[in-house]
Structure formats: C-alpha cells, structure tokens
Subunit: 183 residues, 3 copies
C-alpha cells in the first residue's frame, strides 16, 4: 500500500514567495520512494511563462517526475491519477489554482470544498504547496482583498484535512501538524 | 480565582489575515471555563459592516459570549469589565483598534502603553488577537508604512506583557511563549 | 578562538518589519562576550535618515558597539574586519544591502553568492539580519516583484550557509536551525 511507504497521507506545505516551499515539497514527495507525479497548476499566458514552464518540466523529468498540467480541474485530476496506481502526487501550487478559479469566475469556496472532498478517497499520498499571502498591509485593491481571504480560508481547510502541515521560511521547515507540543 | 482556572494570565494570538487566529483565540478563552466576554473593536462604518457585525454577534451569543463593542477606549473597557467579576475577556482585534486610534489622530505609542499598563491590574485572564502586517514589501503609501511600524511595535510590547503568545498559520498554532526551547 | 565563545559560527535572524529582529540579533551577538562590530548597510539619502542613523549609532556606542557603515561592499568589509582580530560582526540588514545592490544596477545573484562565499573564511562569528518580504499579495510593481524574489533567494542561500537561523515574530524567536525536530 502506498500509504505504508509515506510518513503522511496528505501534506500541506505553506510559506511566502521564494521561501523554498516547492523544493521542500519535492523532497517530501521523493522520500516516499513512490513514482512521482507533478500536478502543475500554472497557466502559460505568455511566451515567457511557456518557456519557464517547459524548462521546469524538463528539469523535473530528469529527476524522475511525470508532469501533468491542470490549471482548473484539480479534484478530477487527483481522482483520475490516484485511481491509476501506486504513486505520490505533488500539486504545485494551490495559489495559482485559486487564481485560475477566481479569474474563471467560479465559486472559490465551492471549488475548495470540492478539492478537500477528494482527499479521503485518494489511494496514495499527496503533497500540496500553497502560499501565505495575508501577512502584509490590507491591499487597496478589492480583488486582492477577496483573494487573500479566499487563500487564507483554503489554507485553513486544507490544513484541517491534511495530517501533515509544514510552514517553510528561508528553505527551513516549521512543523505545524502533527503538533510539536504535547499538552 | 479566575487565574487558577486558566493556563495563562494574558494571551496574545497573532497571525496573518484569515489565518484562523480569532477561532483559535475563542477556543483558548473557552477552555478557561469562565464566563466569556467578547470585546469587539470593529467600527461599523457602512451597512454591510453593520450587518456583518450583527451576524457575528448573534453567532457568538449562541455560543455563550456576551459582546461589548468598543472601538477606542480599550484600557477603560478592560478595567471596567475586569472589576465586574470572574470572567475571561477576548479582545478581537488590536489591529482594528490601532486603526481606529490612528484614524482618530491619537498618539499610537501612548495609547499602546496605556493598554499594556492595564494588564497587571486585570483580575481575570484576557486574550488579545492581533495581525502580523510587516511580512510584505515596503508599502508605497506613507500611512501604511506608519501603521505597520505601529502595529509591529504594539505586537512586541503586548508579547512582552503577555505570558502566552501564539502565532497562528492555517489555523494551527506555533507557541512563541512560553518558549519551547529549554536552552 | 572566537568561535569557542559563541554558540554559533554564522547566525541569520529573519522576520517582518518591526518584528524585533534587530534587537534579538544584538542580544545574540552580545552573548558571545566578544568585541562587537555593527555593520550598518543603510544609506543616508536625506536629512531625516541621516539624523536617524546618527542617533542609532550613538545609542549603540553607549552599549559598546563600534559601527561601520557600508551600503554595498559587504563581502570586502566582512573579510577586512574578520582579519583584524577577535570580534563578533552584526550586519543590519541584508534587506537594505540588497536594495542598494539592485538600485546600483548590480547583479543581485552574483552579489549574494559573493557574500555567501566569504562566510567560511571569517575568523569569528557573524550575525545577519534580514527581512521576510514575500508573505503578502503579489505586488503590482515589477521591481517590487523582482526584489521579493531576490530577497527570498538570498534568505534561502544565507540560511543554508549559516549554522543558526531564527525567525522572529513580536520579538520572540522560532529556531529554524538547528532543527527542533529529531526525525
């Protein structure tokens, strides 16, 4: 069974921009020893982005990752992949996915619940990367405020649903769950 | 005595926007088993805000909270309430209070010292919720810069004065005080 | 030997604005018992800033610090100072230094590698203060986005190179390195 090899069922890795959270999540996934599937949520909206995505995909291929690109239907993708055999899934990242969901005019809360709802049914472990975006001054832009509210709620919901949650700063982990404190 | 029932005298709960810090603070206060008083610092400056505040107040009433609304005179309110009998006070939140203080043209540093000065005299436990707002790029707006400086100083002063300080991310706590490390 | 007296060779202290990270770093440096050298990276671009810098310098002088001002050539300064005898160096802060580097049109990544490369050769301990700036909404300004990427990468590189890394919030430390977790 896939879960026997991993020390977690579902892991959430959160942190600021350029905090090293993706690299940390990759190591977490690699440590399972399972076949690795990378679910990339970035949308290639211009040539520069397309080139960057292609380069990252090639880098990961060298390190043994298969890459799936899915900007919106994350729940469906996870279910399909999990049914296909023993593997670990790495979703990078929920912040770009949430951006795509909101830009597409979808209901962020319903989509988040849909995503959280797929977790118990997954046959193998999954690692989710997400940004912390609410530690600054209140944004003047209303869409930015709505986004940081939705992102904060998503991170809370995912943290409830995952059995392992790690905050990364400067590439280093603070384990939030399971709790370090006994009492 | 009220402090015998609580595991803290004064607790500070900090975190980003939508980090779950208010919910964490409510659980902390509820765990004392004391009568619960919620000190709301939000100002109802439009109908939407008024409706939101009324809805939250009703929710809390169902959960056994009495709500006091006080946007500015926090020190006076705390002293009055603490003198009125055995109870736990939850102040949510210091960030809105500081906003009100600064918009009212008051001296933020003097008001902060006034607030900190009331703590030793309180007869029962109190929980304070406050935002972390200084983890982003320097704001272009001068008032925003002044606010994040004042908020940072307030959180430092309160953290000194409280015997329990918790940082919340994605609904999960990192205990900053008492320190987890021995050495 | 200078390192015998310190509990760290190179320490990185990170945190948000007004988090108390400088004060924490000063205590860390003072605890070594060595002669203290403060390397200030702030540029005095107006009279207000000049006055502020002079005041801080005077305050530190009273507390036994010698101050060196160096906005750009941090690697050279560290090498020169380390060669001059037993002492602890405190660099406050890498964020202003990185700002100066980028405003001067230099290659941020090359400068960061240059700085990291000096660490193994230093004869005594050093403490570096740096800001976390990536925990907010994506900035609309392209330079701000480039800066937060560069700052995030710098903090990761320095955290790799240092044997002690501390995240400070509300004046209180979360030790990121050495890791608190055993497994």
């Amino acid at each position: 069974m896939a879960f026997d090899r991993a020390r977690f069922r579902h892991a959430l890795v959160i942190g600021g921009a350029r905090s090293g959270k993706s690299r940390f999540a990759e190591r977490l996934a690699a440590a399972t020893g399972l076949a690795k599937v990378y679910v990339a949520t970035a949308s290639a909206w211009d040539d520069e982005m397309r080139a960057k995505i292609a380069r990252h995909k090639e880098d990961r291929q060298g390190a043994g990752w298969r890459t799936i690109e899915e900007p919106l239907d994350l729940a469906g993708t996870l279910c399909r992949e999990a049914a296909a055999g023993e593997r670990v899934l790495l979703v990078d990242c929920l912040t770009l996915w949430l951006t795509n969901v909101m830009l597409d005019g979808r209901d962020a809360e319903a989509e988040c619940e849909g995503l959280v709802g797929t977790l118990p049914g997954l046959a193998g472990p999954a690692v989710f990367v997400s940004n912390e975006v609410g530690w600054g001054i209140v944004p003047e832009n209303a869409l930015a405020r709505a986004f940081r509210d939705a992102q904060g709620r998503l991170n809370q919901r995912m943290a409830e649903a995952c059995d392992r949650v790690v905050l990364v700063a400067a590439g280093l982990p603070v384990v939030l769950k399971p709790s370090a404190a006994a009492g």
